[in-house]
């Protein structure tokens, strides 16, 4: 598969949304793995990195899970292509900046990705729409076991999988969920949640990971520690915390509807108006408006059938996707025009909100 084919084909994240993904948009697990007797990517010479990449990419591309996917060295991608992959949560920003000797393998439905020579030799990642830790762990565990058949991992019985950064030592696993928490944001409870989650050994980040903002009320919550507990224990612990947050969000929605329904209707209704009639929309504003429409769908204001479109627009409103759709490079100001144009067209087709049958 070629990169442009992949970009234009259906993907797990943009085409499989269902009402099971109401609060948890996506579940993701990544594993950090390294080859024994080879320097980590940050310390390896370019020639060593290329040798490691060849070895890893060959092994990964041969896996049954990665059949008919894309396997490509990072330096052959242009900036826009890389940006699109970042916006789809397939690769990290760090990988985009890596110079020589990095690679990417992505499977056909874009649910499994392996980054080669990012911070570690291998960063294996599996993502699925909705709240599905069991399924994601089963998939990534099998993928990792198959890969181990062909590669000699750096592993210590005492410290586990050895990683470039000691914060990933042990399981090398980061499990995360992308959550849509508009009611907790509107009712100003997010700070409290972030603090509580931190005390439980979990981390809250914005939509695009470390240092990104939480536009669209979307947050990524993941485990902080990787050593001392098994993968199953970490996932179970995280799952428990996330379930509590889902309940908190649903409670906050019920409370908003009970105490001040007009306030929330107003927000949802105005979002519809702006998306239908705006001519300049930044990605941040578009995200926040789409977030309100999504909340409207959850509350029964809009038909559930619209959910897929909204989740796709979350991604396709990002700067890289906007430019890809318009087939060119555009300045932020021009992108705002293009984005608004696309959203006007989409929302012209969308039925008006119906506040008569709201449920929470």
């Amino acid at each position: 598969m070629k990169i442009n084919e992949l970009i234009d084909s259906h993907s797990e994240l943009t085409d499989t949304s269902s009402n099971r993904s109401a609060v948890v948009l996506m579940t993701r697990i990544r594993l950090a793995r390294n080859l024994q007797k080879h320097p980590f990517p940050g310390w390896a010479k370019d020639a060593q990195k290329r040798e490691i990449r060849d070895q890893c990419m060959q092994a990964v591309a041969a896996l049954p899970q990665m059949k008919r996917g894309l396997a490509i060295p990072v330096e052959t991608l242009d900036e826009l292509q890389k940006q699109i992959l970042v916006e789809r949560h397939l690769i990290s920003r760090e990988l985009c900046h890596s110079k020589a000797g990095s690679g990417i393998i992505i499977n056909k439905d874009q649910s499994c990705v392996v980054m080669v020579n990012e911070e570690d030799h291998l960063r294996i990642q599996v993502l699925r729409v909705g709240f599905q830790f069991k399924k994601v762990w089963a998939t990534i565990n099998a993928l990792d076991s198959n890969l181990e058949e062909h590669l000699d991992y750096a592993f210590s019985p005492k410290l586990g999988y050895l990683s470039a950064c000691p914060t990933n030592l042990g399981t090398g696993m980061r499990a995360s969920a992308m959550m849509h928490l508009p009611a907790l944001v509107i009712s100003a409870q997010m700070e409290k949640v972030v603090r509580a989650v931190g005390q439980l050994g979990m981390v809250v980040r914005g939509l695009f990971g470390e240092g990104s903002d939480a536009s669209g009320s979307i947050f990524q919550i993941s485990n902080q520690t990787t050593l001392g507990e098994s993968e199953e224990q970490i996932i179970k612990h995280l799952h428990g915390v996330l379930t509590t947050i889902v309940d908190q969000e649903l409670n906050a929605r019920a409370k908003l509807l009970e105490t001040d329904p007009k306030k929330i209707y107003d927000k949802i209704g105005r979002a519809y108006g702006i998306l239908q009639n705006g001519y300049l929309l930044s990605s941040g504003e578009a995200m926040n408006l789409l977030s309100l429409i999504r909340l409207g769908i959850d509350l029964g204001v809009y038909a559930d059938a619209q959910r897929g479109l909204i989740d796709r627009l979350f991604i396709e409103c990002q700067p890289g996707h906007v430019q890809h759709a318009a087939k060119g490079a555009f300045e932020p100001g021009q992108r705002d025009v293009l984005r608004a144009e696309r959203l006007r067209a989409e929302f012209a087709k969308m039925p008006a909100p119906d506040f008569s049958n709201t449920t929470s």
């Binding site: 007797k37 080879h38 911070e119 076991s145 058949e149 590669l151 991992y153 999988y161 520690t225 050593l227």
Partner: protein
């Protein structure tokens, strides 16, 4: 006083006995009056046993010059980047690693997944190369009965070592 203590710094009998606890460790010194005076022990405010012990210590603390034998990465490099150079660094930097891991993680011992297949493969590879060596030696020494036995075992191990079915 046959078993009276001698001064730690000279040979005169010790008359000043000091015990200090520094970093949860007990340090004891015994000094004669002259040496105690010279070291300022009699001035309690200005005296630190730890300083004295450190200065006289034959093994000064290593100061940031641990170097990984396999990749040349140093402790200074780690301070700069927060990353290690290669998997072997974890053996070389063990001494300062453990306290760091303790604050970073939920424990300092791995209890998760083990690369089972890789470990099985390694056991088999080791066994195969051992058998190959044994076979060569037996042939050279014209011990044909042994050689036949090694050959049979080799083919048996090779058969079990065939590629495993992949997990879907």
């Amino acid at each position: 006083m046959a078993n009276s203590l001698k001064c730690d710094l000279c040979v005169k009998p010790a008359t000043v006995h000091l015990t200090q606890i520094v970093n949860n460790k007990i340090h004891k010194v015994d000094l004669c009056e002259a040496c105690a005076q010279a070291k300022g022990v009699t001035d309690p405010s200005g005296f630190s046993l730890a300083d004295m012990l450190l200065k006289s210590s034959l093994n000064p603390e290593p100061t940031g010059d641990i170097r990984c034998e396999s990749c040349g990465f140093t402790q200074q490099d780690f301070k700069k980047t927060g990353r290690f150079g290669c998997p072997s660094c974890y053996d070389c930097f063990g001494s300062f690693l453990e306290p760091m891991l303790d604050t970073m993680h939920n424990g300092i011992a791995h209890t998760g997944k083990v690369p089972q297949r890789a470990q099985e493969r390694k056991t088999i590879d080791d066994r195969l190369s051992q058998l190959e060596t044994d076979l060569d030696l037996a042939i050279k020494a014209e011990r044909y009965e042994d050689a036949a036995r090694f050959r049979d075992e080799l083919s048996q191990v090779r058969q079990t070592a065939g590629p495993k079915p992949l997990v879907k």
